[in-house]
Amino acid sequence: MPLRILLSAMLALIFCATPALAETPPGPGPKDRCAVCGMFVAPYPNWVAVIQFEDGTNAYFDGPKDMFIYYFDFEKFRPASKIADISNIYVTEYYTTRLMKAEEVFFVTGSDILGPMGNELVPVQGLEQAKTFLRDHDGKKIMQFDGKNLTERPADR
């Protein structure tokens, strides 16, 4: 009996620890500039997007829009690397202002919430909340990123 408790406790520990293992990248330093537009990133903590590379370097962006511009024109911005060198892509979720993986959130376009570079793809976690955001802020479309492409979610609203 005590063994089972111990085991389940360990299991619980492992499950709790797993999200922490996938370490979110450190926040941008005061000198970090957006890799696309060249603006300083640190003054806009609620918009930061980060591309993490396998070699441990990070590219910072002052919004998901610039991050996608970079990603979809990768050879132009970082000719020395390949798409495969990217380990993770993080964006700052709108409601919680925490960094989350780009694959785990929905992107709402055309809303009245403007980022540092104007119109943005606003990252929102959870479909229910994304729909709420779309309604509250006059959004146009809900997009999803599957690790390769950014596609519109089938209209089901």
Binding site: N46, Y95, T96, T97, R98, Q129, D136
Partner: protein, 384 residues
């Protein structure tokens, strides 16, 4: 070297007429002290308020009934928590208490609410029923400290004894000086608050862009609620203090005008003796420009001395004497407040404004008439 000599001459000629100049400096400094006191005080109060509200929750939700603040049902908090973007929701319990013994108002607050960081001078926050922690202002007016008892009269007119476990002070004295912190259960019992009701609800929001949307949603879902955002509170504070200081300034505008008349009279009405002096200086070979420089230095010396004296007096008045003369008007409702010390915040911009409003007009009003005297023929000037 030449300029230094002229400066030396200017200072010694000021000294020759020391009573007249001292009178001017005194009145001049007084006017500046009044102006600067008002500006310093309002600025310090505004800075204190923003200091205080920096840690305040993004939204405070009150319930309004018949246009008045009412207790809010705890169930509202659960509904607010479901709105996306809301990080934390805390019902708060607090109230005012008038202490007839020392004629002061206290603010009674529950322990563990997410209030501003409190610096304990002595002891600790209440951990058990029957304990309380008090602000340094309350400790001073009641002359009590940790280990003593604080007796407050509750809603049923019963004297309740609380043991003081700590005295605290927070970075800003403005609203924490009069605090008494009680255990939540004690506070509810003390005020006789019905169960399931709180004084108001504090709401933390992660994304500042979402605050207005959340406030709108709260208002829509609970039409009898009144969400107040932090920026609204700040704006109100600023407006109230600006309005009061504007009122004060207009009252003292009369004093300012009186000073201007005096300065004009003293400085422009060049006496026959001064005209003679200018004539002699010209006769011994001084240029008109030297005389203008002399008068310029004289004006500068008088007005800079007065400015410095006035600012110093205002600083002492506001930050050491607690603005004794102005507080009844500026603070208004808080006359019954235990007294508090303001933190000296000074805006260099305000000093510049005061300096520019007083120094150049005075210098100009001394230089221009002597320029008129200096361009007349020395002989006529000497004859008067």
């Amino acid at each position: 070297m030449r300029h230094l000599k002229i400066l030396e001459y200017a200072l010694s000629s000021l000294w020759r007429r020391k009573y007249k100049n001292m009178a001017i400096i005194l009145v001049y400094a007084f006017t500046i002290a009044v102006l600067a006191s008002i500006l310093f005080l309002t600025h310090a109060l505004k800075t204190e308020a923003s200091f205080l509200l920096a840690e305040a929750p993004e939204l405070v939700v009150q319930r309004v009934s018949a246009g008045r603040h009412e207790l809010i049902p705890l169930e509202y908090g659960d509904r607010i928590r479901k709105i996306p973007g809301v990080a934390e929701v805390h019902p708060r319990f607090w109230g005012y208490y008038y202490d007839a013994l020392v004629e002061a108002n206290y603010t009674l607050l529950e322990a563990n609410a997410d209030h501003t960081p409190l610096e304990m001078l002595d002891g600790h926050l209440p951990a058990a029923p029957g304990e309380c922690a008090i602000g340094s202002g309350v400790a001073a007016v009641r002359k009590i400290g940790p280990g003593d008892d604080l007796i407050l009269v509750d809603s049923t007119n019963m004297g309740i004894v609380f043991e003081v476990t700590g005295v605290f002070r927070s970075p800003s004295d403005l609203l924490t000086n009069d605090l008494v912190i009680l255990d939540r259960a004690d506070l509810i019992e003390f005020f006789g608050t019905p169960p399931d009701l709180a004084t108001d609800i504090s709401v933390r929001v992660n994304n500042p862009k979402e605050i207005n949307t959340i406030a709108e949603k709260i208002k829509r879902q609970m039409p009898d609620s009144r969400p107040i955002s932090r920026s609204e509170i700040l704006r109100t504070y600023a407006a109230v203090f600006n309005w009061r200081s504007g009122m004060m300034l207009s009252v003292f505008a009369a004093a300012l005008v009186a000073f201007c008349i005096l300065a004009w009279d003293k400085a422009t009405g060049i006496s026959a003796e001064e005209k003679r002096e200018i004539g002699i200086l010209k006769a011994v070979g001084w240029e008109t420009s030297d005389i203008l420089e002399l008068k310029f230095w004289e004006g500068m010396a008088v007005s800079l001395t007065s400015l410095l004296l006035g600012l110093l007096a205002a600083y002492v008045h506001v930050f050491f004497l607690g603005a004794t003369v102005l507080t009844p008007v500026i603070k208004g409702w808080s006359v019954l407040f235990p007294t508090f010390r303001l933190i000296p915040f000074i805006d260099p911009y305000q000093i510049l404004v005061i300096g520019f409003l007083t120094v150049p007009p005075y210098v100009a009003s001394t230089v221009i008439p002597s320029w008129k005297a200096a361009i007349t023929d020395p002989e006529t000037a000497m004859r008067g």
